[in-house]
Amino acid sequence: MTIIARRLAGHLARGLVMILVVATISFFIVNNIPGDPMAARYEKLIEQGMSPEAAAQGVKVLYGFLPTGTLWEQYTDYMSGLVRLDLGVSVSRPGTPVLDVLGEATKWTVLPVLAGTLLSFLVGIVLGVYAAIKRTGKLGDALAISGSLLHGIPQYVLAMLLVVIFATLIPILPADGPVDILFEPGFNAGYIGSLVEHAVLPVATYALSAYGGWILAMKSSVVTVLGDDFILAAELRGMKRSIIFRYIARNAILPLFTILALSLGLLLGGAVFIEKIFNYPGLGLLLINSINDRDYALMGGAFLLITVAVIVANIVADLFYTVIDPRVRSGEEAR
């Protein structure tokens, strides 16, 4: 137990350092982004029919929200704000704290990512065991190849194919946002039904693009376990096949949980494509839009949040590894 506590403390310390480093990097990148958002907004207002003077004044007021002072002052302000969880003021949403905007977006990213990943994990593991056991057969081979292929196909390719098929050619599923506004939000059948209906395609994309990876991982994990001595011993002792299978499955699945934790963290950042294609208002879409709006505070905040998710996932994965791996538990270094 003390070892776990010590590891956790070490991870947290390193995680904090990482967050500081990332916050610094993102601050300086974001502050060096070229482009004149004021000019863009001015042109937009003019195009809508506003007179040049009025547009110029309006833009001046809006961009009064930008922080002032030297770069160093801005940096210290930003970092001290960070400690208080104050990520600054968003220019495209004046008056709304960046944290609130991020919170809202995170909600829409986490749910489908979670659903899609768990679904693919389950399917992938079952098929992976099968592919490992039948790895000499035609079917096992086909499973492995299809797994590699799905693993290799970019998410956006899958997403576009799904949209073309299910939203354009045979329009049975929506690909426009997270829920129909006509339903009163709350715990009622209509609202939840609409939520789920809108989540089907994004979730399916996550699941489809991830399950190939799980098949491969599970297959190789099972193959490794199959070669272990204790299985051989069990076979020699004449144990029932179903019991042996349980041994195999349990021992093979454990390392996959660490990958699961890691992939959940990474997916938060990788949701960009899926959210863009399905018009799903999560963190990834927020990041793209904030870049287009040159909303510096929001951009930095979204990037930071995504990184924090990965860091937390890493810590969780490592702790999990500590708990399940007896060698680590007994005090020996894992690597």
Binding site: P37, Q57, K60, E104, L118, G177, L182, I192, G193, N279
Partner: protein
């Protein structure tokens, strides 16, 4: 493990129920006939957390739906002051434009039942000052600024213009102002606001300080978040999620009896392709202008009930030259290029539905040009495609042709490098097409894209590009039209009627044109100063000035006008009818959603 399996099973079940839930959704939204579905084309990306504040860039305030203006200014070719009634039932404009007297709608009420008063309008004008508006500006000496706001009685207001620097579009500026409920917004402006405003209009350090305070108030206004939407418009905001916004009918609206839809749904979008999708699916009852390729346009028209209403949009696009770069400083090179580029072909490829090829370069939209400059249009050089003339011009510019390729006078290679922001698909298409046309005629060319519009504008203003596309002819006011060619982008800055000229490459002067142009039949003119004069000129005074400027633009070609935009309004006749086809009311005021105006005035009828 077991718990995990249970969770996944539950999720699976949820997915199954979802599919059955879907059908009820569709029948639910179709029923009743009272739901009006549309989008706000000005604002991609709905934000559930944004307040119903019309000045907030993401605010859930939809002009003409749950936000009212004093009047809805029309898209008239020459008269900027024509409007449809909004919060004001009627108004009188003094013949010399020195004042406008507003009469408010006698029955206008806010959605919480309170009447709309002159105090609401006065406070809204105060708020407009903090944001900057044409009529309500604290900039000293700004043209067309209001001098005094007087409450005559509880339904009448008089607003006078500061006649030191009067503008013919003063009334337009007043009418195009959003009205807010003072009982909700009362604490945003301090009690001494009007005194402060008076100080700000003066001169000296104290006035400067007051102006800064008012600008600071502007930020308070932007960030103000009313707890609940209080609207004087035909609808009031019910709720928003990141994908859609729902508005319901405001039963206190003065013309509620004639408002057809019971509910309005705004759909979210982040790119044009999503709007195309909604339109081809027949989901939208109305959508404002959105650029679409021919094939997509045909699909949209094929959807049952869909109709495309074409109107006039005072916007054109031109190919602008950076005249500080060689060889574009030579007018013959610009003319030669104009003779080489077939504008019909460019428009056909780039904007077949959303634009008409420019007849020639005048600086004015072809539809408005006859009204302003009359017969002069016919006398201008049309720059019809003519390789022989182009060759002549290039030779005159000292360019030489080697192995079928044009080179600069010193023999070094010449490549026309055009830049466009990525995402502006029609501009990129046009440049790709121009590139093909030029290469066919022995002029090497390339298209470079930059990441996005903010970057494009920054680098353009810094003079980094040789050739870039530029929006022009932004009317209807004459000054607004020509300041795109002879304004800050070409060196002339107009502050309070005083014109200064910045050298090429400085102060945003990327066009770098000459300060004076020798125009055939007129003589030497200073186009920037002429343009500045338009700001205070009446329509009749403006016409001769515009004729001179059109001739100058046509002869000197700071830009080659490529196509003039067409205002395509997409409507569906499946659920509602009565769509107007009158050009003047297809585009109404800054950021106004035209369908909201049509609905509130009772033009749109339910189909039942």
């Amino acid at each position: 493990m077991k718990r995990l399996a249970a969770a996944v099973t539950l999720l699976g079940l949820a997915t199954v129920t979802a599919c059955s839930g879907g059908s009820t959704t569709q029948s639910g939204s179709g029923g009743g006939g009272g739901l009006f579905t549309t989008i706000d084309v000005n604002r991609p990306g709905l934000d559930a957390a944004a307040p119903p504040n019309p000045y907030n860039p993401k605010g859930n305030s939809f002009s003409a739906f749950n936000a009212m203006k004093i009047g809805w200014v029309k898209n008239h070719l020459t008269d900027p002051n024509q409007a449809l009634p909004g919060i004001a039932e009627s108004w009188e404009i003094a013949p010399d434009n020195s004042a406008i007297t507003l009469k408010l709608q006698p029955n206008a009420k806010w959605s919480d039942g309170q009447p709309v008063t002159t105090e609401d309008v006065r406070m809204s004008i105060g708020i407009a000052y903090t944001q900057g508006s044409t009529a309500f500006s604290v900039t000293p000496g700004a043209a067309g600024a209001a001098a005094e706001v007087t409450v005559v009685d509880d339904k009448t207001l008089k607003i006078t213009q500061n006649m030191d620097n009067p503008s013919p579009k003063f009334a337009r500026g007043v009418l195009d102002t959003t009205v807010l409920p003072s009982h909700v917004w009362k604490d945003v402006l301090p009690a001494d606001f009007w005194d402060k405003l008076k100080t700000a209009r003066g001169e000296g350090a104290e006035a400067e300080k007051a102006r800064e305070e008012i600008t600071a108030l502007g930020q308070k206004v932007l960030a103000f978040a009313p707890a609940k939407d209080v609207s004087a418009g035909p609808f009031v905001l019910e709720r928003v999620n990141p994908g859609e916004a729902l508005l319901v009918k405001n039963k206190h609206f003065y013309n509620a009896a004639n408002v057809a839809p019971a509910q309005v749904k705004f759909l979210n979008f982040t790119g044009n392709e999503q709007i195309w999708n909604y339109l081809t699916a027949g989901k939208l009852d109305h959508s404002g202008f959105v650029a679409a390729p021919t094939d997509v346009m045909n699909r949209i028209k094929q959807a049952p009930g869909n109709e495309v209403i074409k109107g006039y949009s005072p916007v054109a696009v031109g190919m602008g030259f950076n005249q500080s770069k060689k060889p574009y400083d030579n007018v013959h090179v610009r003319r030669g290029l104009a003779y080489l580029i077939n504008r019909d072909e460019v428009t056909k490829v780039a904007s077949p539905e959303g634009g008409t090829p420019a007849t020639t370069t005048t600086g004015i939209h072809q539809k408005a040009a006859p009204a302003w400059i009359g017969d002069t249009v016919g006398q201008l050089e049309p720059y019809k495609p003519d390789p022989a003339k182009a060759e002549e011009e290039f030779k005159q510019a000292g360019l030489t042709k080697k192995d079928g390729k044009w080179t600069l006078s010193d023999g070094s290679p010449w490549k026309v490098s055009m830049t466009a922001p990525s995402g502006f698909s029609d501009w990129i298409s046009a440049q790709e097409n121009i590139k093909s046309q030029l290469i066919k005629n022995g002029v090497d060319a390339e298209v470079v894209t930059v990441a996005d519009y903010p970057l494009y504008l920054e680098e353009l203003a810094a003079g980094k590009y040789d050739v870039g596309f530029w929006l022009m002819a932004l009317g209807p006011a004459p000054y607004d039209i020509y300041q795109r060619l002879y304004g800050a982008s070409n060196g002339w800055t107009n502050v309070a009627g005083k014109v200064t000229h910045a050298a090429p490459g400085k102060g945003g002067n990327w066009m770098g044109g000459p300060e004076e142009i020798e125009v055939e039949g007129i003589g030497k003119i200073n186009p920037g100063e002429l343009t500045a004069k338009l700001n205070t000129a009446t329509a009749e005074e403006a016409k001769p000035i515009m004729t001179q400027l059109a001739k100058a633009a046509n002869q000197d070609l700071p830009v080659i006008q490529l196509w003039d935009y067409v205002n395509n309004q997409f409507v569906s006749n499946s659920r509602f009818t009565g769509w107007p086809h009158d050009d003047e009311i297809l585009r109404l005021g800054t950021g106004v959603l035209a369908s909201g105006v049509w609905i509130q005035l009772g033009m749109v009828k339910s189909k039942q």
